[in-house]
Symmetry: C2
Subunit: 458 residues, 2 copies
């Protein structure tokens, strides 16, 4: 059997995630995002299709760069209104047995002491199926909403995230020893206090002085996802990430994977302990002609105002005054010039306009199931381990994939036909890997490691 | 029909909430608190028994005063380990239709911008069945865990809570007008940006500058619970609370209710817009003899170390060095003397020792269903509207109540036989009361009120 390919569904607790405009399509049901039934049905569909996980993105601010305000994002419901992703998971977990749940939480969002308990609770309730996508937040509006003047400079955001993960891992890995919960009815002792240790952390950005509130969950530390591709982002990924979310043209993705694995190796990790997931929005049908019809309809329904609200937010550039079809090389601002340099790293040599930027960034992979299997394998040969599948419509896109593509991938040995046993980490990395491997830098905080541990107290 | 009595189940996402030692009882299943099935079954039981709500308490620190450390609390699993309560709600909400869900969240726990979205998300997912118990946190260990030097002085904690509620209500009530979500396919407009307004709040303790991330939920502001009974606590309750949780001997409770209602009246509220819930731990059986047997068994299984860990945490006094049966009037410390003065306000004139303090504070109401109905009505005549029922064992105590007591109360017209329609607030206060009444001080922030609103932007 070939190496199996991993698949996550890429989603968000809102109306419009990555396909602005498509909410007008009657196949799209995401106006029901406030209804738990929508999510429970999606989770059951994904589990039927043997997806590894549902990956829930999140933002804690509004895209308000485009046009100088949040008007475009609001009109197109583009990642706003946006509800808390973590609260969807318990209902979906209760309705499924094996599907993993990854969700985004920014290091700006919670004090790490509170967040550590949130994760432990979810990991308990899902019986070890939780992954955390660590993000630093790129929306200045989020920082202002939280009472800050604005975001910290880019690399400092990763310094903050490094310390945040450190604090969380100290709480998850070092505070409660495995044998702490004894539940000894005869001795009337539920917890052995000599095996519970306070964390004393006084760093540059965070301070914690106390015991973790939760007993150890099946995974202790959740499976760690990360998505940044800058040099500092890769360094962060190499230190912490077990799964990395990548996007872009083939040379860019390939180089990012090689570089990140090499950085991980230098940190003493096995480079194969990191899985790389490519973002892709799948359009599929039985025949090439039907695929083409669907793709044309997608392009017709795609809303450029909504797309550019997102794109302006990511790039930090207001694209509002720029015509959709104006060649960007003639837009004489430093910001756009920087963007052009980044794009030319892709080496396509094409003439960039906002219109083809939008089309190009959309990550669409269109094809019959046979064609998709070929495309997936091309990416796998470049070093990609799996895919984060965005949607054109929900449940449409996922139903098409589960019913149309999954059986073919399974027949070819490219996708799992049954879930592995154990926690999400075991399902991804194999039996016995319920927790962080010893070579993971964040395993250093483990209670049995000694260095972070204190003497017993009572 | 007599005025119906309200009933909540009082619980917590942990092994031992208010009955330390009872985990050794085979009837108690709370060692399965990490399993969603435990909670879904409890919610279904409560809904079958027409309970108004499940009230989930919480702490974000460890009880570490008794014996100078967390040893006692840990040994007895007394409110530690303790997981996040909010994450239990979605699975229970999906399995029920009418049961309300109240949960405790401290104003130390989240930035109000993040908390406001958490509540809006839950209110959406439950279709308007959420209540928030606003607490200021009494455990110094919580403050230290969050990197603070310690708790703020008592009254200042309520100043912080006042501002916290203010910020949340601005986000819930003023940021999105009711007509903001238009979902107009023809005009390709999901949200009308002219009806979404940023909140600009720069106060003494909190700063927010941005739009609420969630569209209006069924209740907007959740039903507001509060529990503090100090003068400053009552002032806070009179301003914000719609439900107040009370405990103590009859004269104390009665005076607290009268005083709080009078304070509310002076703030322009209808004093009847506040419901008072008495804490009670029910022990019931068919005959007086069986009740007595159960009560004796409860006292035998009650663990004093666990009880005193809680009691030391609440009082801020280490009871570790004091003998269980030593008359407290001879303990010559200022802290204990202050406690004695508070207790003598109850007017019982009894001789207090730690042993009878523990028994006295336990809130047990034991009796046959007939006797319980009489006791409930005595309290109702004092001004109590309902009860927060703690448990001896779970599901034991609630099953006993639902099967043994509820039918009798329903026959006598003392308990609802069907749920009212609409949101939790409507179920509690009547049809048409989905949202905060106009006379509620926090309704001043409403978008249609004008004062907190800005001109349209886009």
């Amino acid at each position: 059997m070939s190496k199996r390919i991993y698949f996550n569904a890429f989603h968000m607790n809102c109306v419009v995630h990555q396909s602005p405009g498509l909410w007008v399509n009657p196949d799209d049901q995401m106006h029901k995002y406030t209804d738990l039934a929508t999510w429970v049905e999606l989770a059951r569909l994904l589990e039927r299709g043997k997806f590894d996980a549902l990956f829930l993105a999140d933002v804690i601010g509004i895209y308000d760069i485009y046009g100088g305000g949040p008007g475009a994002a609001l009109r197109q419901a583009t990642q706003v209104p946006v509800n808390d992703p973590a609260l969807l998971i318990p209902a979906m977990a209760y309705a499924t047995e094996n599907l993993g749940f990854a969700f985004t939480s920014s290091v700006l969002q919670y004090h790490p002491f509170i967040f550590a308990r949130l994760i432990s609770t979810l990991d308990h309730l899902t019986k070890g199926r939780i992954a955390w996508n660590v993000v630093t937040t790129y929306l200045d509006s989020a920082a202002r909403s939280l009472g800050l003047q604005g975001l910290h400079p880019h690399d400092q955001r990763y310094d903050i995230a490094d310390e945040y993960v450190e604090v969380c891992c100290k709480l998850w890995e070092s505070s409660w020893e495995d044998g702490a919960v004894v539940r000894d009815r005869l001795r009337k002792t539920y917890v052995d206090p000599s095996r519970v240790h306070p964390v004393h952390h006084a760093g540059r950005y965070f301070k914690v002085d106390g015991c973790h509130l939760s007993e150890p969950s099946p995974q202790r530390t959740p499976v760690l996802f990360q998505a940044g591709s800058s040099p500092r982002g890769r360094e962060f990924a190499a230190r912490h990430a077990e799964c990395v979310f990548v996007t872009g043209p083939k040379p860019v993705v390939s180089q990012c994977i090689r570089d990140t694995r090499e950085r991980a190796r230098r940190m003493g990790r096995n480079p194969k302990d990191i899985l790389f997931f490519l973002y892709a929005k799948i359009i599929t049908a039985d025949t090439e002609a039907a695929v083409q019809r669907k793709y044309v309809q997608y392009l017709e329904q795609l809303n450029y105002e909504g797309e550019l609200a997102l794109f302006s937010g990511w790039a930090g550039i207001d694209f509002g005054p720029i015509d959709l079809d104006q060649p960007l090389e003639y837009v004489e601002t430093n910001a756009v010039r920087g963007l052009m340099e980044a794009l030319s790293a892709g080496g396509s040599g094409r003439k960039w306009t906002l219109r083809n930027l939008v089309k190009g960034r959309s990550g669409v992979i269109a094809g019959t199931p046979e064609r998709l299997a070929e495309i997936f394998q091309e990416w796998v040969e470049l070093g990609v381990d799996g895919f984060n599948l965005g949607y054109v419509t929900t449940p449409g896109s996922f139903a098409d994939f589960v019913d149309g593509v999954v059986p073919l991938l399974q027949r070819r040995g490219l996708m799992q036909t049954e879930y592995g046993e154990g926690t999400l980490r075991e399902k991804l990395f194999g039996k016995g890997c319920a927790r962080l491997p010893a070579s993971h830098p964040d395993a250093q905080y483990r209670a049995d490691n000694g260095s972070a541990q204190e003497g017993p107290h009572s």
